[in-house]
């Protein structure tokens, strides 16, 4: 077993670009000749400034206005065998970081130390040529990604089998559907065996079944003791595959720690009011002169508004409303819809109490509690409705007022993948299972497996 050996060490990595200059500079020979005569060194200096940043104050204060920093003093350490997620909004610097670590582009300042061979998957199917057959493209793509021919020979059958395009392996790739191309390309990439693997959001290819295959393969890779840096926008896959995540924002490291926490920071930082919606001004609040919806919140058991919910924990959906006219009865309910637009369930206030009235005018708060160990991983959107008549026009009907994300953690003390596998289905209820042994006609009651025993 390894001592804590460092696999990747980034030290104040920074990268800047000059804005707009590139497009100005790609002129013709004639124009540049003219410019040369006018001011001999100006054009040359301009061109050099595209890649030479000696004039830039590396303290990053008072930077010239034409400079944009893609990465600013990024530092972190990754040990051998760690799987680290890298998240951040578009433009935060994630792809730039991977490109620097892959040696595709050099840093402007700072250093990175790398132990071992790096394979990067920044795009699936790099080098694929439509006129070549699948077989030929496997070899081409494989060598581009850094494999040796002997290695590809050895794994060829495995690769083709994983991709599922065996029948067409000797047909030119231009005859493949886009899904087949993606699967073949990913199959090659999935069989890379470098010490360090850098992956940039390439899991978003193929159908759900293939995506599942990819995630499983990624899990195998991480269990083989390879260091993996995984850039993604898909939070459930981040929390499932990576125990640790680094959050990049505007070129710098915003957070670095256990995935669950960092994902929380991300969701909160980025879409701050997603789990809470308020209408302080009653006149603008949804509703009519009977009732107005003032606020909606997603809460944990201890009352905090939260964007990210642990799959085991109950979730409270709170609705705050103002009743303006005395009502004999008021039906309050909401729809829950997932990322794919599938309705997961609806919940009615009357489900747990028959009190649907009368309501005196005033401010009310109703909270519905969704039990833990029931919802599936992913983002859920809540759409509330309030009405007094069925059918008829509702007083309040809003779509996607609040949303939250359900995540399953990878901490070793709770949900190990063995005992809580990722599953299909719109909900993931943890049911009670009972097992008895019935041999020789004797009814011997065996211990029942209780969910609480597995999940601490």
């Amino acid at each position: 077993m390894h001592n804590s050996t460092i696999s990747i060490k980034a030290e104040q990595l920074s990268k800047c670009y000059r804005l707009g200059l590139k497009e100005d500079l790609h002129d013709t020979f004639g124009v540049s000749l003219l410019n040369f005569l006018k001011a001999p060194l100006a054009n040359y200096r301009k061109y050099r400034s595209l890649y030479n940043f000696d004039d830039v104050n590396l303290d990053k204060k008072d930077a010239p206005s034409d400079i944009t920093w893609a990465l600013k003093d990024v530092s972190f350490e990754v040990k051998v065998g760690e799987v680290v997620g890298i998240i951040g909004v578009n433009g935060a610097g994630k792809s730039t970081l991977l490109k620097i670590l892959s040696r595709i582009t050099p840093p402007t300042s700072g250093k990175a130390f790398i132990r071992g061979k790096v394979s990067s998957l920044l795009e699936v199917g790099t080098g694929f040529h439509p006129d070549l057959t699948g077989r030929e493209n496997v070899y081409l793509n494989g060598t581009i990604l850094g494999m040796r021919k002997k290695e590809i020979d050895r794994k060829f059958d495995e690769i083709v089998d994983f991709s599922g395009v065996e029948r067409f392996i000797d047909t030119p790739v231009k005859r493949y559907s886009s899904g087949m191309k993606a699967r073949l390309a990913f199959a090659v990439a999935a069989h890379l065996e470098p010490e360090i693997l850098l992956i940039d959001e390439v899991l978003a290819v193929g159908d759900a079944r293939f995506q599942k295959k990819c995630i499983n393969k990624m899990q195998d890779v991480s269990q083989q003791g390879r260091t993996v840096l995984f850039v993604s926008h898909n939070m459930p896959s981040i929390t499932r595959l990576c125990p640790r995540t680094i959050l990049l924002n505007a070129g710098g490291v915003l957070a670095d720690g256990p995935s669950h926490d960092v994902v929380n920071v991300y969701m909160h930082h980025e879409k701050s009011s997603k789990a809470e919606r308020e209408w302080p001004d009653l006149d603008r609040a949804p509703g009519d002169d009977v009732v107005r919806l003032c606020a909606m919140r997603v809460k944990t058991k201890d009352g905090h508004v939260t964007e990210t919910v642990d799959i085991r924990q109950p979730v409270g959906i709170e609705m705050e409303y103002e009743v303006l006219q005395p009502q004999k009865r008021l039906f309050i309910y909401f729809h829950v819809v997932n990322e794919e637009g599938i309705e997961v369930f609806q919940s009615f206030q009357t489900d747990s109490s028959h009190q649907i009235g009368p309501f005196k005018p005033g401010r009310y708060v109703s909270t519905a509690w969704i039990p833990g160990n029931f919802l599936g991983e992913g983002v859920l959107f809540i759409s509330p409705t309030m009405r007094t008549h069925f059918p008829g026009t509702p007083h309040v009907r809003e779509k996607d007022v609040v949303a939250f994300q359900v995540v399953a953690s990878v901490d070793s003390d709770s949900l190990s993948a063995e005992f809580f596998p990722k599953r299909g289905g719109v909900v993931w209820p943890l049911l009670q299972w009972e097992t008895e042994c019935r041999t020789n006609g004797n009814y011997v009651a065996a211990k029942t497996l209780s969910a609480e025993k597995i999940v601490k």
Binding site: Y17, S102, G127, I144
Partner: protein, 288 residues
């Protein structure tokens, strides 16, 4: 993953033994990383092979295009320069005269043109994956030699027709092939890195190639050049290649005075091209 207290702190079998490589803004400088090129030799092979296969894919005539191209030029030049203009060729039949020159020239023109465009054409790959950038301009240099090899058939047929018997000069044939490859290699290294700066390298190429053709004794004989200009003339490395091939194949006395200056220039082009390419190599992705 705990280590027992008995394990040595520096165990050679541990990954600590693998040295760390550094990525930094201004790395130590070296001309060619031979070790890296050796690691990527399988990729080089596949890139060359892809280049060759794809060129003739889906054509009816397939690889025979490698023959037709030079053949048409030979016919055209024989008619225009041989018969109509009646250019002097020191007594050698024009067809023979031009075949020996056109076949290597076709190779040089094609590989030079492709090599100069290599970085621009490969820019998506440049931004998505790392492999030694040198492979980009070098690939056409090698893939077009296959075309060259095929078109040697023409040369062979013409030689047989005119009853040219092989001489010991043929021993130098491989040397001239290497010399022939070095020229588009050097020019390609320069042009490919310049092309990412000046997009009109692409526009200028056909014109440049045309011009270049007339600077070498392909359609005329080198003896037409006045005596006192000959040294200057031979600074053009292509002159050396063409004259060398002619002497080689036709058994003429080897005109070393045309060859030495050119070789010097070719070496200079190659080395300076490699320097410039190496300088631009790291920042290519940011500048393209």
């Amino acid at each position: 993953m705990m280590t027992s207290s008995l394990e040595p702190l520096t165990d050679r079998s541990q990954p600590n033994a693998v040295p760390m490589s550094v990525i930094e803004a201004k790395p130590p400088w070296h001309l060619i990383d031979v070790k890296e090129l050796k690691e990527y030799r399988d990729l080089f092979f596949f890139l060359v092979w892809r280049d060759f296969k794809v060129l003739y894919a889906q054509t009816i005539l397939g690889f025979s295009w490698a023959l037709i191209n030079p053949l048409i030029q030979i016919v055209m030049f024989t008619i225009i320069f041989g018969n109509i203009a009646n250019v002097s060729t020191d007594g050698i039949p024009y067809v023979l005269f031009s075949s020996v020159a056109i076949i290597p020239w076709t190779y040089m023109a094609a590989s030079m043109t492709q090599s100069s465009q290599s970085l621009i054409q490969g820019q998506t790959m440049l931004g998505k994956v790392y492999f030694p950038r040198l492979l980009f301009p070098l690939t056409p240099i090698l893939s077009r030699t296959v075309d060259f090899g095929i078109s040697i058939v023409i040369l062979f047929c013409v030689m047989v027709y005119f009853g040219v018997s092989p001489t010991w000069n043929l021993v130098l044939f491989p040397f001239f092939v290497l010399y022939m490859m070095a020229i588009p290699c050097g020019i390609g290294l320069w042009l490919s890195s310049l092309a990412i700066r000046f997009r009109d390298v692409k526009q200028a190429m056909p014109f440049f190639i045309q011009m270049l053709m007339y600077t070498a004794p392909i359609v005329y004989s080198a003896s037409s050049i006045p005596e006192h200009y000959r040294i200057l003339y031979s600074l053009n490395p292509i002159v050396g290649v063409i004259e060398g091939f002619r002497a080689c194949v036709l058994g003429l006395p080897m005109p070393w005075m045309y060859i030495w200056p050119g070789m010097l220039m070719a070496a200079l082009l190659l080395i300076s091209g490699a320097f410039y390419f190496k300088r631009m190599e790291r920042v290519v992705v940011d500048v393209i």
